[in-house]
Amino acid sequence: MAELGHDATSYAPPREQPEMELPHSHSFWTTYVFSQDAKTIAIQYSVTAISVGLLALLLSILIRLQLGFPNTFSLIDPSTYLQYVTMHGMIMVVYLLTALFLGGFGNYFIPLMIGARDMAFPWLNMLSFWFYFVSVLILVASFFVPGGPTGAGWTLYPPQLISEGTPGIHGGVILMMVSLGVFIAGFTMGGLNYVVTILQYRTRGMTLMRMPLTIWGIFMATLLALLAFPALLVAALMVLLDHLAGTSFFMPAMFSMGEQLPHEGGSPLLFQHLFWFFGHPEVYIVALPAFGVVSDILATHARRNIFGYRMMVWALIAIGGLSFVVWAHHMYVSGMNPYFGFLFATTTLIIAVPTAIKVYNWVLTLWHGNIRLEIPMLFAIGFIFTFINGGMTGLFLGNVTVDVPLADTYFVVGHFHMVMALAPVMTIFAAIYHWYPKITGRMLHEGMGKIHFWVTFIGAYAIFLPMHYLGLAGVPRRYYAYGESSPFIGESVVTLNAFITVAAVLVAAAQLMFIYNLIRSRKHGKEAGPNPWNANTLEWQTEHTPPTHGNFGKELPVVYRWPYDYGVPGAKYDFIPQNVPPEEVEMIDEGVRRT
């Protein structure tokens, strides 16, 4: 009998997880289209998110072409430019990052990593995807309505959101709001599922403190999203009422085109409060899963246990909690009470503490590790770089006095792309290279992967690092062209803009190669085997690769240890999967058993 954990007796006696009835599918439609298997839903989510993400990538290239080489491309006029900026931002933040991390990764990894057969509510899960899919269709449809999509910026600030002169104020705004509403409804169904599954469907021995950090990240992010998205929903509903019914929630009394509008007394500031009450947690909705995924990938590829697991968990929780009390740092120049600014600068800087704990722990995990520079590891280390970089400029912008001159300049654009675009995207790539072998049974092509990493990493720095200097030079964001202010814009700015555009085109080309790699390796990749990285978490221990319906064979795995038993002294192999009981651990000296 193995030695028990130190406080095993303080827990309730083990209760078998009830075997759930899986909805078995028989036809093509229920297997591939209206599937209730979390893994299929995950792939549906991911493919949809990546497809719409490619559209947003294309939009960003169009934006860059205009900025790098103004007046060259007649296709882009001031209105379409603003529309591209708006749609690029909205798609990337909500429809790509949120959907991919929670809908894609969440659906695939939650049941597999906690040792469950499926989500708690498979049918609701399917419905969640189809709501998401419809919301994407509605969003894309706005490109085809008269006037095109809204061009108010992804922050959608009224009053200009629905005032004459802004592109897309007729169909575009309405479709955007409806699409967000549908997205939020769909997400709420999915999010309920993720949280309930993590709470209720963990297999025997999978205590909270034995969950991989990926699951902790997804869990916290889902909780944030469930509580924060209602703010966006309220704002979207009120915008629709202002626009369609003529109420004055957000619309002040104003003259437009020489005419007094019917609105009176509404507060644009109220919208900003609601928007950022969602908007700031949103940053962490995409960052927390990234934190979790990176922790697991670093531990696996450095063959070392994650440094400070408990601190990592508590830091996730602390960041999640604090993320609700910092929203107004996006509004320093909005005209709110200046004392508020002081308060929010303080809370913002406090967030740096748990975040720094995480960064130190990642670096300390690598310290003396047996680092294998496989592609997921490259991207994970790339994440640490971009995240520290973006985090540092966050310290600048978090301070009111520094933020005021930098507000609405390219410094801000550089900052948030580093910290919440590049860092999570690096993680997404790391995760795809890491888990693709489990999902398809084949490895991605390594040479292409290396090129992809280096072009993306160096290229992204070439794009976003110069933007900080543009910002310090006072170049404002969201401008189509600098017009009469050109004399104040130095020659170097023009050159730098052209340079950034060239880098952006190269990085985009590398992404196409990545997509090609994804498609090609599906059939022609090297056979991966069940556990190519020698990882410990449960998803690598399934009977079949890719895992079949129901994930595990006849019996659910029993968990005996945390997922970070890499390089355990004395053990024969440098990894001990979670489902290996202590008495079965092979030691170097045969006959010596370790618990």
């Binding site: 095993a8 309730a12 209720q200 909270l208 929630f249 246990n305 609700f324 240890r561």
Partner: protein
């Protein structure tokens, strides 16, 4: 945002207490014989947990709406309070009775009393529908009295908050219809107990929300 922040702080305090009780003093790196277990207590079945989390989401939505109400009221001096029609009191009484009826239905389900379950389930659904019709009448009366949605932010918020509440009730009625269908198909009280219970808890929750909203509309 005070209302929202107080709500979130309460939620976070509860969550922190729960997480800390299960994570502090645990040594995750220690392996054992597979007996460690920190499942949720038996009373928290999967549907109950799901409902509780959904109620947290709905509470966030209502808290934010109430915060917006307070903020908008403080921003402009164009706020003209809406008179509260007497019908609202009648509607409130109907909603209380609806909640009570569902409670009795749930009690009957637990006693394995099929007749009582059926009777009170339908009475509860009927009363809820009556409440919704009553709210529509209130809106019609206000509109007829010139309190258009566009006339004043107070009016707009009145319609917005009450409609939000009614929409949540309609969502509840969807679940109620599904339960009633199963009841008609001859499901036993034991099989229905969980569904009736979820409906009842949701109705009680919406009743509390209604009283908060009603108090807010009465006092401002």
């Amino acid at each position: 945002m005070t209302v929202t922040l107080v709500f979130l702080a309460a939620l976070l305090a509860f969550f922190l207490g729960w997480v800390l009780s299960r994570t502090v003093n645990v040594e995750p790196w220690v392996a054992d014989g597979g007996t460690l277990n920190d499942r949720m207590p038996e009373i928290l079945t999967t549907p109950r947990v799901a409902l509780l989390i959904f109620l947290a989401v709905a509470s966030s939505l209502f808290a934010l709406s109430i915060s917006a109400y307070h903020m908008r009221m403080a921003f402009g001096d164009d706020w003209l309070a809406v008179p509260s029609p007497a019908l609202l009191w009648v509607n409130s009484a109907i909603l209380v009775l609806g909640s009570l009826a569902l409670q009795w239905s749930w009690n009957a389900a637990r006693r394995d009393d099929a007749a009582g379950l059926r009777r009170w389930l339908y009475v509860g659904g009927g009363l809820t529908s009556a409440f919704i019709i009553g709210q529509v009448l209130v809106w019609r009366d206000l509109n007829a009295g010139g309190y258009y949605m566009t006339a004043n932010p107070a009016n707009a918020f009145f319609y917005f908050l009450t409609a939000l509440h009614v929409l949540h009730l309609i969502g509840g009625l969807v679940a109620w219809v599904r339960t009633a269908k199963r009841e008609r198909a001859g499901a036993s009280p034991e099989a229905l107990c969980s569904s009736v219970e979820l409906c009842t808890i949701y109705w009680h929750y919406l009743l509390v929300i209604w009283f908060i909203l009603f108090a807010l509309l009465l006092t401002t």
